[in-house]
């Protein structure tokens, strides 16, 4: 098939609908005048349109307005059942365009939150864990403790028997029992 035949057949639909520019429409008309094959294609398309109109328009009965309006009015005045009202609300809120944006955004936000370390150590269970990598108490006794709730590390130095300079006013009872 020649290139201009192919171009013509691609544009025939729009030509039949009158949606071509004046110059393009004129070019098609001139081509159809000189090309039997494309002109046959044009006639087929026009016959198709005629047949479609015949089936889709002429065969459709006329409906009386009054009974139709009565049906519409009945729907308007009828109080919707709770379930129908909820369905109607859902249908108008969760439209495909809204869902097409909302659902991916929610999925990605959830993935982001779950992948954050701090989520697993969130505010109410904040882990204040500290690891003691090395310790040298220079001969003193020490205790390493961990507070249960916040997991805070506590390094406790016991008093050296030989003594620091100060003496504590409170002896045994001031040594905290852990």
């Amino acid at each position: 098939m020649r290139e201009d035949c192919e171009r013509t057949r691609e544009s025939l639909s729009r030509w039949v609908d009158g949606h071509l520019s004046v110059s393009d429409a004129e070019a098609i008309r001139l081509h159809l005048g000189g090309c039997a094959a494309c002109d046959r294609e044009r006639r087929q398309l026009e016959k198709l349109e005629f047949s479609l109109k015949s089936v889709l328009v002429s065969d459709v009965p006329r409906i009386d307005f009054e009974p139709f309006w009565a049906g519409v009015r009945e729907r308007i005045t009828k109080k919707p059942r709770r379930r129908e009202a909820i369905m109607e609300w859902a249908r108008s809120t969760f439209t495909p365009p809204a869902l097409a944006w909302t659902v991916p955004a929610v999925i990605v936000v959830l993935l982001g939150v779950l992948s954050m370390d701090s989520f697993w150590r969130s505010g109410w269970q904040r882990n204040n864990f500290a690891a003691v990598e090395s310790i040298d108490a220079h001969g003193r006794n020490i205790a390493l403790l961990r507070e249960d709730e916040t997991k805070t590390t506590v390094i406790w130095l016991y008093q050296n028997q030989e003594g620091e300079d100060e003496s504590s006013g409170e002896n045994a009872e001031t040594n905290p029992s852990f």
Binding site: A130, A131, V132, E133, Q159
Partner: protein
């Protein structure tokens, strides 16, 4: 494109943006770790001479419970910014001093070298790895009828 197709395409697109943002954030975080460290020391007197916990200690009240003293009072609080490997020196009551040296920042944790000394004599040397912004407690040195508790916290700037 069908609704499912559009949702899938947009999920992949948003995920890609999230991953890129996360990567940029990580790079920035790594770059930020090479600047300074803010060290904060809270000096607390713990004893059984009263039944009160200083309201200024509300944020660490739960941490102090493990020591079973009845009274805790904040004597002073001091903050210093120090470079990595630099020494931050804090005066501690009773002729003592605390030297804190931030070593490194890795996996969102800081490693601190801490030395408590009494005059020139070292009392304890320790290296502790803690969460950025977190703290640990170093206690025991006697003071005014009770014991000192030092809350040592560090935040990479």
């Amino acid at each position: 494109m069908s609704l499912l197709g559009r949702m899938l395409k947009r999920t992949l697109l948003f995920s890609y943006c999230l991953i890129c943002l996360g990567a940029v954030h990580s790079v920035n975080a790594a770059e930020n770790s090479s600047q300074t460290v803010r060290i904060k020391i809270g000096t607390i007197l713990a004893n059984n001479q009263g039944d009160e916990i200083d309201p200024k200690l509300n944020t660490i009240k739960n941490q102090l419970k493990v020591m079973k003293y009845r009274s805790y009072r904040l004597l002073k609080e001091e903050t210093q910014n120090v470079a990595w490997q630099g020494n931050a020196v804090f005066e501690i009551p009773g002729g003592r001093s605390l030297v804190v040296t931030p070593q490194e920042f890795r996996n969102k944790q800081l490693a601190l070298k801490v030395r408590l000394q009494h005059g020139d004599k070292p009392v304890v040397d320790t290296t502790v790895r803690l969460n950025n912004g977190g703290n640990f407690l170093l206690g025991g040195p006697p003071h005014e009828g009770g014991a000192l508790v030092l809350s040592i916290s560090a935040t990479a700037q």
